[in-house]
């Protein structure tokens, strides 16, 4: 295989990891409530903004306490903020929507995304913020010098982080009783309640976990291109990823992300010149459309079973 194609594929894979990180958050909430959480993109943004605030000399935290936090402490504090946020969301919104249609929950998450975006804007301002938490930047020199091969260090870190994250989540959701309870809640609220699964607890757990996943995604995107409000639009790119991978599958989100990442890069480089370029922007959606026609449950999704 020629080196250029390989390089294109690798850079596609890395971009795919970024998509997958966002998609992962969607999958978690979809698994637990059968709802597409429109606010996941904003959640990433919000997490990144919070982290930035803890780190910045000019942030709210520094203004109130007079000092900024070191990176590790800032991350821990942000995790707690995300858990607190999950608790608030359950308390103020989801609690009142038990046993309602998924479409109503979906609308609620749209509302939530506007609220979070507004709050983020008011608290932290809408300027682009460079996030630096010490993840190495730039090209991997060794590969570049010896093999003339370009790989971004940040993207390698992102890929490793995603791998660890997915392994942890897979263990948590496949092996623990919470995992089974989660699928139960997604299937039938009433039945889940009747076997003694507390919907409130499950929702707080799931939103917390997806908040933490959002933090990871937010940090990676923020380190790559700065924290900016367009981050919430990545949510749109996660949609084809989910259609490809299946809305309910954690491995599906990863594989879907990778396919889309590689697919759009390769298409851009090789097919782009023939149609005047900019394939990258719509390729993912075309692919998703194809999947909707032939395999609506995605690659790894649960089969849709309907008895007549």
């Amino acid at each position: 295989m020629d080196l250029f194609l390989l390089e294109t594929c690798i850079s596609g894979l890395m971009a795919g990891v970024m998509y997958a990180l966002v998609a992962l958050g969607f999958v978690l909430i979809f698994k637990a409530s059968g709802v597409f959480n429109f606010s996941q993109g904003v959640l990433c943004l919000f997490a990144a903004l919070t982290l930035f605030d803890f780190l910045s000399e000019k942030g709210w935290f520094a203004r109130i306490f007079g000092f900024a936090l070191p990176v590790w402490l800032a991350i821990i504090c942000t995790i707690f903020v995300m858990i607190g946020l999950a608790w608030l969301i359950e308390r103020l919104i989801l609690r009142y929507l038990i046993n309602t249609d998924p479409i109503i929950l979906f609308m609620a998450t749209i509302g939530l995304s506007f609220i979070l975006e507004g709050v983020g804007d008011i608290l932290f301002g809408s300027d682009v913020k460079p996030l630096d938490i010490g993840i190495p930047q730039g090209a991997w020199d060794y590969l570049l010098d010896n093999h003339n091969f370009y790989v971004e260090k940040l993207e390698v870190v992102a890929a490793a982080t995603a791998a660890i994250l997915v392994a942890t989540l897979a263990l948590f959701f496949n092996r623990t009783r919470i995992g089974r309870a989660l699928r139960a809640v997604a299937d039938d609220h009433q039945a889940a309640l009747s076997v003694g699964i507390s919907l409130n607890t499950i929702w707080v757990i799931v939103w917390s976990v997806s908040g933490i996943v959002a933090l990871v995604a937010g940090v990676m995107w923020g380190s790559k291109s700065g924290i900016q409000f367009s981050l919430s639009l990545i949510a749109l790119k996660a949609l084809p990823v989910l259609i490809l991978g299946g809305f309910t599958s954690i491995p599906g989100a990863i594989v879907g992300g990778l396919i889309i990442g590689v697919g759009e890069k390769v298409a851009e480089v090789y097919a782009g010149p023939f149609v005047g370029g900019a394939i990258e922007n719509w390729f993912a959606y075309m692919l998703a459309l194809g999947f909707l026609l032939f395999r609506p449950q995605g690659l790894f999704g649960e089969r849709i079973i309907e008895r007549v």
């Binding site: 009783r177 009433q190 009747s194 699964i197």
Partner: protein, 269 residues
């Protein structure tokens, strides 16, 4: 039948509901309904459509909160209890229109019933190590026992969404049973079944009551079934209790006959 010899003898009051009033806006679903359920007995709630039978189960299991009235369970007074808490206290139920986790296998559905019994640390469970592993095996064994009991071995791995209705009802019963409840609420366990399936279900209900001593409250329309399997019967009509007693007493009760034959309410009163 061996039913009489091996049964747990009927004991003290397990559940009592007193003067329950439940209304949805202007519509009164339950008006001043009181009755009690004794340990180890099979109590049937019957009545015409819309009589408030399912509402009654929903009140017991914490889905609905009555505007007035008291509920005592195991001698304790219950304040606005959530379904989750009812389950913790040992109340399990099935639903009129089967509420199963359709994407999961039969075995996994039944395992969800064990959820409350699992106590081990999530970290251990995630790593599948040490005590958590033993615990999982132990619960698995309990689930398998129920599968054997209900004779559904052959559908163990099949996603329940694909099963015929009668079997789904059986799996749902299994899931409730897996909770090892003290009180089992069955909402029309035999609705939509053919004769053979009904007989099986009857047998299971009686066996559960016999082997595990589980107290059962069930709603049923098939009079033959009700008369065969229940110790006592409560009759509801338009949200009110119109009769209570042994199957024989209820059968000969004039108010019940009127309710079922559709005598208009002014005349009956």
């Amino acid at each position: 039948m061996t039913e009489v010899s091996s049964r747990h003898s009927i004991g003290e009051t397990l559940l009592s509901v007193e003067r329950i009033n439940l209304a949805f806006g202007e519509v009164k679903a339950l008006a001043n309904v009181s009755f009690s359920v004794r340990e180890h007995e099979v109590l049937a709630i019957i009545g015409p459509n819309g009589a408030g039978k399912t509402s009654m189960l929903n009140v017991i299991n914490g889905f609905y909160h009555p505007q007035q009235g008291q509920i005592h369970f195991k001698g304790l007074h219950r304040q606005r209890m959530k379904p989750y808490e009812a389950a913790v206290q040992g109340i399990a139920r099935t639903f009129q229109n089967v509420a199963l986790f359709k994407g999961m296998s039969t075995l996994n559905n039944i395992m969800t019933g064990r959820n409350l019994k699992m106590r081990r640390n999530l970290l251990w469970q995630a790593l599948h190590l040490g005590p958590a592993r033993e615990e999982e095996l132990q619960h698995r064994a309990a689930a398998e026992e129920i599968i054997d009991f209900l004779e559904i071995q052959s559908i163990r791995k099949i996603p329940v969404g694909r099963l015929p209705y009668g079997l789904q009802k059986r799996v749902e019963l299994g899931r409730a049973l897996a909770m090892e409840p003290d009180l089992l609420l069955l909402d029309e366990p035999m609705a939509g079944m053919n004769m053979e399936e009904k007989q099986d279900m009857c047998r299971f209900i009686l066996d559960i009551n016999e082997q595990y001593g589980t107290t059962i409250v069930l709603i049923e329309h098939d009079m033959g079934v009700v008369m065969d399997i229940s110790d006592r019967v409560v009759v509801l009509d338009y949200g009110q209790k119109i009769a209570e007693g042994t199957p024989d007493e209820v059968r000969s009760n004039q108010a019940v006959i009127d309710a079922y034959l559709g005598v208009s309410h002014e005349e009956a009163a």
